[in-house]
């Protein structure tokens, strides 16, 4: 009787340790754990707010002026009809706090969500 109880305890301990390991792994990779949203602003108005998940696959076309691609947990301004192309060269946003700005068209793409490790980028 006593030995059966011990076996049950061992199972519980093993299960708890396994769960602890899973939680620790999730916490150790906060970028994958936290929620992440892409916000698209046009003329200082929020026009889209989309949660980015592993399965996200979406193209937002701002009447041909800017084309924004949301892919998995990333976002980028893929095309712009302006001359400087600064927003396109900003590249792919992957972390909360990153921003791509098309000044001529007053379009801002920003990622918001849990702490990402970097608060701002000096450009």
């Amino acid at each position: 009787m006593r030995s059966k109880m011990k076996a049950g305890d061992l199972v519980i301990i093993a299960a708890v340790l396994l769960l602890a390991a899973v939680i620790a792994a999730v916490l150790a990779v906060p970028q994958r754990g936290g929620r992440l949203y892409a916000e698209v602003w046009q003329q200082e108005t929020l026009v889209e707010r989309v949660e980015l998940t592993a399965g996200t696959d979406r193209v937002i076309d701002l009447e041909g002026h800017n084309v924004i691609v949301l892919e998995g947990r990333t976002a980028r301004i893929a095309r712009a009809d302006c001359k400087d192309q600064v927003c396109v060269r900003t590249g792919t946003l992957t972390r909360a706090g990153q921003v791509a700005v098309c000044l001529p068209n007053r379009v801002v793409l920003k990622l918001v969500g849990d702490d990402s490790g970097i608060d701002a980028v000096a450009v």
Partner: protein, 351 residues
């Protein structure tokens, strides 16, 4: 089973994070760029400031930046600088704020031996970089324009009066955002209600930090230094509680002609974009105005001269070179916690 549930509940309880104070973010366009201010406030008894208090301060900040934009812009016709530039050399009285901005610009020009010069307007006008009319000017045009360039042409006469000699024109684009950053700090420091503030202001890529970061235990804000080829990514991170981090790079405004890149950081000695093998220079400083002026000056000096200048003057600078090196001046380690992250992008770090 009950014991299993209890153990799981305990684990989940332990893994829960302490709640963080809420940030208030205000985004706006000013000084021909995008600005984003993240603000935390607390009352004297330590409670988080309410939304109204936060939005009032955010509003004050954007009002201050817009006021400076109007005063220090070359194109806003109602502003101080426009009046000064169009006074045909007559003595012009400006606001105390504008006078201070010009005074600092001239002081940094003197300190850097003219590597930073706020009188480059006739040259930048010829290139028109950042507009559809950008072009490479003829040498004769540049030679003529350069005869009007020189910070010595700016006479600071006291009592907020300034005179421009020799057809000089002032362009404060090289320090405007920095000066605005310092004004934001002064505002946060002032007696604005009973609140105390913590803030991160990204003024078009010029970063101003104030009062520490409540979201991090050590109070630091972590600032990335942009990868010149993909500016959302960082080659370096710098952690600090306050002060300013400013970067100038050849990727911000430029145009290409016959396969050559012409960017917006001009060498006052030649009238051409500085061609010194650098992609960007970042300066960490208590004063955002000084940081702004120094990034331009160091970019013009190039790595070797710039590094010697940093050693001599105790300036904290991070140079990113075209041959993919990240080089720090000695003062960087005194000013921030530095971390190199450019290895997987083919960069090497040299101290």
């Amino acid at each position: 089973m009950k014991r299993l549930i209890a153990a799981v509940m305990l684990l989940l309880g332990l893994s829960g994070c302490a709640s963080q104070p809420a940030a208030y973010t205000n985004d706006f366009f000013a000084m021909d760029t995008f600005m984003s201010v993240t603000l935390y406030g607390s009352t004297p008894d330590g409670r988080p400031a309410d939304d109204g208090t936060l939005s009032d301060m955010a509003e004050s900040i954007s009002r201050t930046v817009n006021r400076l934009d109007a005063a220090l812009s070359r194109t806003q016709t109602a502003g101080d600088l426009y009046r000064l530039n169009h006074a045909d050399g007559a003595v012009t009285e400006v606001s105390a704020e504008t006078y201070e901005a010009v005074r600092q610009a001239v002081a940094y020009a003197e300190q850097t031996g003219g590597a930073f010069d706020p009188t480059m307007a006739p040259v930048t006008d010829l290139w028109q970089i950042g507009t559809d009319q950008a072009r490479v000017p003829a040498q004769a045009e540049l030679d003529e324009a350069l005869t009007h360039v020189g910070y010595q042409n700016v006479k600071l006469l006291g009592e907020n009066r300034i005179q421009l000699l020799n057809g000089a024109q002032i362009d404060l684009g090289g320090i405007g955002k920095g000066f605005a950053g310092d004004a934001v700090c002064a505002l946060l420091q002032g007696e604005n209600g009973a609140a105390s503030w913590q803030a991160l202001a990204a003024l078009g890529g010029n970063i101003v930090l104030y009062g520490g970061n409540p979201a991090r235990k050590d109070g630091s804000w972590v600032i990335g230094v942009a990868d010149p080829d993909q500016t959302a990514d960082s080659l370096v991170t710098l952690a600090r509680a306050d002060g300013s981090v400013v970067t100038s790079g050849d990727y911000e405004r430029f145009f290409e002609q016959d396969g050559k890149r012409y960017h917006h950081i001009f060498d006052p000695a030649t009238g051409y974009p500085a061609d010194t093998g650098l992609r960007s220079v970042t300066v960490i400083d208590e004063s955002s105005t000084r940081a702004d002026a120094m990034t331009t000056a160091l970019f013009v000096m190039g790595l070797e001269k710039g590094m010697a200048f940093c050693r001599e003057q105790g300036i904290a600078a991070v140079f990113i070179t075209a041959d993919k090196q990240v080089v720090c001046s000695p003062a960087v380690s005194d000013m921030a916690v530095f971390s190199f992250e450019g290895e997987d992008k083919g960069y090497t770090y040299a101290q």
